[in-house]
Amino acid sequence: MKSFTKITGLVAPMDRANVDTDLIIPKQFLKSIARTGFGANAFDELRYLDKGEPGKDNSSRPLNADFPLNHPRYQGATILLTRENFGCGSSREHAPWALDEFGFRCIIAPSFADIFFNNCFKNALLPVVLPAEVVSLLFNDMYACEGYQLTVDLQEQCVIRPDGQSYPFEVDAFRKHCLLHGLDDIGLTLQDAEHIKAYEAKRRVSAPWLFDTAY
């Protein structure tokens, strides 16, 4: 897995609450059996004025000029600033895949939906929870100042404004460790294979029906 330690990058807005994973990557793109190729259609319904389809040539589609991520000033952004409950709805990991491919490394919001939050860590896309007032303040900063950048330091667990002011955030010790070192979850879990086998052996005795293979 990729690692995440510290980034300084351009901030772009997604100024609404309850952004769901259907909005991040619409369902018609989920037909793909690959893990890549979703970035070009991230936020498809907001980015373009027509309906996107897999295989369609995006370069000839009409862009929505009102959508901030289409504005020149936000091109190359690596940090997405957004509101409450980001990533709600469907469990599709295609959402973090699409955001990652679009170029984001970090998302800052007052809250995230649980499954999306979890999926982000699997893809080295760091979800950062900051208090709603701080997020509002960062929104104001960003709108006021073209080229606005923030620094996100995972080791120190803080977001740093250009004026040096820093805001701490929480992160699970285990997830932090995996992300800092780019560790593969499965490999780590398999180091505990003996524990898993021991658990299974016990359950086979106490709850044998769980292991029936009648079908």
Partner: protein, 475 residues
Amino acid sequence: MAGLTLYDKLWRSHLVLERDDGSALIYIDRHIVHEVTSPQAFEGLRLAGRKPWRVGSIVATPDHNVPTTSLERASGVEGIADPISKIQVKTLDENCDELGILEFKINDRRQGIVHVVGPETGACLPGMTIVCGDSHTSTNGALGALAFGIGTSEVEHVMATQCLVAKKMKNMLVQVDGELGAGVTPKDVVLAIIGEIGTAGGTGYAIEFGGEVFRSMSMEGRLTVCNMAIEAGARAGMVAVDEITLEYVKNKPFAPGAHWDLAVAEWRELHSDADATFDRVVRLDGGKIQPQVTWGTSPEMVLPVLGAVPNPDAESDPVKKTSIQRALEYMGLQAGQAITEIPVDKVFIGSCTNSRIEDIRSAAEIVKGRHKAASVALAMVVPGSGEVKAQAEAEGLDKIFREAGFEWREPGCSMCLAMNADRLEPGERCASTSNRNFEGRQGYGGRTHLVSPAMAAGAAIAGHFVDVRQFSATH
């Protein structure tokens, strides 16, 4: 020591290991797989040279992408017109065949929506930990199980290790006492709950649904309620095991045979202890719940059918105010408009929320002897599985719908998320028994109103939303 909640008990009995950093390994008993979120996981396993830890724990079926017309279904996978969908369904077949995973293929009578198939076959049982790469896996919690949706990386993780790295969630009790009024269904109950706590209200919690309303609710009703726990932000929703649960599970094809008594003894413990404590308790009066209709683009934007569309100017919170404005604009509604004045273009009865036999019966009851309004372009019923379809046909329900001008389809997710050909056109308005009314969910530019099967049927007949309670009384 304080007593344990149902969730605490399920968590404990599946704990393989607790690490110092607060994370834990929990063992997964049942893994349900569908075509959309699994291909990359199978590929990942293959690339790493890994094999499934316990093939027998996995059950698969294609549902999201399968067509629902009998014409397209007649020739199985090869008959899928959309070439990309076909590849995805075929990929699932190939992966399952190669690894020896039990799969209910496209025209197997047991095929259907994952969350309908699991409980109905007995593949999902009380006391189990159940995962699937699909957020509505919470449905299975109705059995007294710990069931939740996972992402594709976790699908791969569970296949490879039979475990998940997890952190214990907090406990929430949603207690609904009293008695539901006539014409008020489990769907109305769960929509009312979401209206109360909001779509992020359950974030970080496992919700237990308790109280008189759930105690007397059928198993299928409980499945509907737990299905939408995720719409309240909770990954898992659950109901304690009781006689209704045991009666439901008994004689299911994959229910424990020889071990039945042993299993029941364990399952009878699956309820919260009397002195258990919850981190949050929410109470609703069941007697006050009315039939519900969502008016906006988030399930929390919901109102009793006799209500009126809200006015954004009445909202002081600026973020909420813009949400309301944006929703009204997208939905093409005016502030103050009565819900019963909203006309519908299409009606969809189906999805993992409301496509079981009781749902189909309840819609049929309203439809019987009537005809859909001429202004309704399409009213469709999509049973949740081949088993549900066969049962409905045995009861003659398909005829009732056909005579009323409805289409009777083959099982699958269909217009719930419109990955196949069933979808709304831009601007079209739908009364839908599904679970999400997000922008574009049922088709680009489509407008979704979430309702119960009876309310959807009523809207199809009247051409606009109606209070089914009055509707039934007038006939």
